[in-house]
């Protein structure tokens, strides 16, 4: 088991390195750097001015060196500028070049500086993750129990009318992307044209003061898309368990149907959905980006759009590192959890 986890962690770190390098490579291509120089300096910069700006800020070094510096395994660049001032990646304004540390990458906890928000990337990410974490927490609270109940009710008696109805509902939710369901919810529950006005159409206020009124629609929108998929997996797994021999034996012994479902079937039926719930995270991340844009909730997903749209290189890299790590860690947990949960693999 320890060997298995160790190997998975090794692969995970390798994957994370590859992925961050890809993002690093794509964001540091010359046209992107040129755009960055022009937005930071002046839109009418000539090509030479752009090149000198980039050179002064260390963008024109070889890609591998830049990646190493960003990661913190290669010493930060130090350049003697034309005006006689020594500039470097690790030299904060106001400190002497001699006092600055040699390495300053994400391994040292230095995430860089966002050019759009004019703030430290580490701080921005912390704030935004807290906001998105709150959103995700409520999504999970809503999504997981309702999906499991839905799936168990449908899978309990396969082919019954309840099963048909619930399965159709589950298919409909998987077929409705967040930008469609979100728009429909806003139209029905928040617009003046329909007049219900039960909820707010934006969640901007929920950043400081989340209430049921301004926070329910975004949560519901994300939860609904994932719910259908989990419910269908639960249904399939439940239906399979219900046809198993030991369930029939229990029924023949005279155990009541609710008892069979609760005591015998449920625990075995919940192994598969656990994996599925963990693997939903990459999808939820997409949902978060769409919903935060749609409801103007300035969390992690909204930051991704801002960073990517404005080519804010260091912020975008930070965002990618976090999302990639989240995805990989959930995959790891799902693998390990599967081994722990499955009675056929670990015999107690």
């Amino acid at each position: 088991m320890a060997m298995f986890i160790l190997r998975r962690v090794g692969v995970m770190i390798l994957t994370a390195l590859c992925l961050t390098f890809i993002v690093f490579f794509l964001t540091n291509l010359y046209p992107n750097l040129e755009k960055l120089a022009k937005t930071q300096g002046d839109f009418r910069m000539s090509d030479e001015e752009v090149a000198s700006y980039l050179g002064r800020n260390g963008y024109l070094q070889p890609m591998a060196v830049k990646y190493g510096q960003w990661l913190g395994v290669v010493p930060g660049f130090v350049i003697l500028d034309r005006d006689g001032v020594t500039r470097g990646q690790c030299i904060e304004p106001g400190t002497a070049p001699e006092d600055a540390p040699r390495f300053c990458g994400i391994l040292q906890g230095d995430w860089g500086y966002s050019t759009v928000f004019r703030e430290d990337v580490g701080k921005i990410l912390g704030d935004k993750l807290a906001l998105t974490g709150r959103l995700m927490f409520w999504v999970m609270v809503l999504m997981v129990p309702s999906a499991l109940i839905l799936g168990i009710l449908a899978g309990m008696r396969e082919g019954s009318r309840t099963d048909r109805t619930l399965s159709t509902f589950a298919i409909t939710t998987t077929a409705t992307p967040e930008y469609v369901s979100g728009v429909l919810f806003i139209a029905v529950f928040a617009s003046t044209a329909v007049g219900l006005k039960w909820f707010k159409g934006t969640a901007t206020a929920a950043m400081d003061n989340p209430t049921f009124e301004n926070f329910f629609l975004p949560v519901l929108t994300i939860a609904l898309y994932g719910m259908g998929y989990i419910a269908r997996m639960t249904r399939a797994s439940m239906a399979e368990v219900m046809t198993a021999q030991y369930i029939r034996t229990a029924r023949l012994k005279g155990v009541s149907f609710p008892n069979v479902v609760m005591k015998h079937a449920l625990r075995n039926a919940l192994i598969a959905p656990f994996t599925v719930i963990m693997l939903q995270f990459p999808w939820l991340l997409n949902g978060v980006v769409i919903v935060e844009t749609l409801f103007n909730y300035k969390g992690f997903g909204w930051t991704l759009v801002q960073a990517a749209g404005n080519n804010d290189i260091e912020l975008l890299l930070g965002v990618s590192v976090i999302s990639v790590v989240v995805v990989l860690v959930t995959q790891l947990i799902s693998d390990i959890g599967y081994v722990f949960l499955n009675p056929r693999i670990s015999v107690r």
Binding site: I22, A175, V183, L304
Partner: protein, 394 residues
Amino acid sequence: MEPLSWSEIALRMLGLFLPVWIALIVTFALSITFKRRLGLYGKLFDSPIGMVGFAMVMFWVFTGIFGGAFDMILTHDVLSQSATMKNKGPGTPFTQMMGTPDPGAYPYYLLGGDNLGRDVFSRMIAGAWEVIKIAPFASMFSFMVGITLGLPAGYYGGRLDTLLSFMANLILAFPVILLFYLLVTPEIVQTGIPVYMAAVLFLFPIIFLLLLWNSRYHTQPSRRNVYVGVTLVIGLWLYSGIAWDADPLGLVSFPPNLLVVFVAVVFVNSPTVFRIVRGLTMDIKTRDYVAAAQTRGERPWYIMLWEILPNARGPLLVDFCLRIGYTTILLGTLGFFGLGLSPESPDWGSTINDGRKLLTMYLHPALPPAFALLSLVLGLNLLADGLREESLRD
């Protein structure tokens, strides 16, 4: 003129869709008559869910073809704006700021006008064509890539499998939207990376077909040479036109921004297909008929393409339907974030994005494309469900 009532709008829309209804009825009548001779496709008509799904999908396919390719259902030009029609509700008579409208023009905006005074109904119809002409082909290309790489990975296993699976997991660990934002920006297009990716990805269909013919007919060289030759000539001709925009005859070309969208969607979808094909191959290669073929001395690619692949067709077909639906959702996502497609494009994602900004006041610009997308994807999901049930039955 008075605005139309809701029942009049519904009647007029039913009338405009007349060619679609006729095509649907003909398709269903023919299919149900000959359903015993049509294999799995015919069996679909035994399942009510499958039939409903098929009808919903074909409705949008016919709408897209008649509306987009033959210009039949559209009532107004999708790009022409009328200042007096801005945000006007459904059924408003068509007027123009200056002069009287062309007497031949359709007298109403059936589903109202959007924030620029364009006809919502026509844009929804044109949006169907945008989806129909990209989604199935993008899914097909993803399948070609996924199959060509997944079969050997599952069949040989070992180092090759480890390497390919690692690469697939790499792409799958990316949040899709981040990948889109990295690939589908004008700056990246400027560097030519999407073209190189297209050059690699579009080679796979040719490789796939060559392997297919060669493994089957290598004992009959004359026949093999004909098939391989025809595939090479047509394939490379299309390849040079589509991927490199360098068709020697100047007939085939692909709009550059559409190419980027296409490549991004194929790139995102192929790893999933790869994983499915790999899993199925690993399962099927333990069967007796594969062992029999190995004993006969068949070559690996023959076994993969002519023994394993046909036996994996059921799950693959089901996934193909789901994948078209997912591709439709991805295209909508791209449009929603304003990536890739031109800002005036009538595709559903872009129109939903335009409409959502005024959603609390005007519902009509955002809702028709939203319902259209929902019904198409739902149809594809139901169709996949029907196919799954029917293919499990035999």
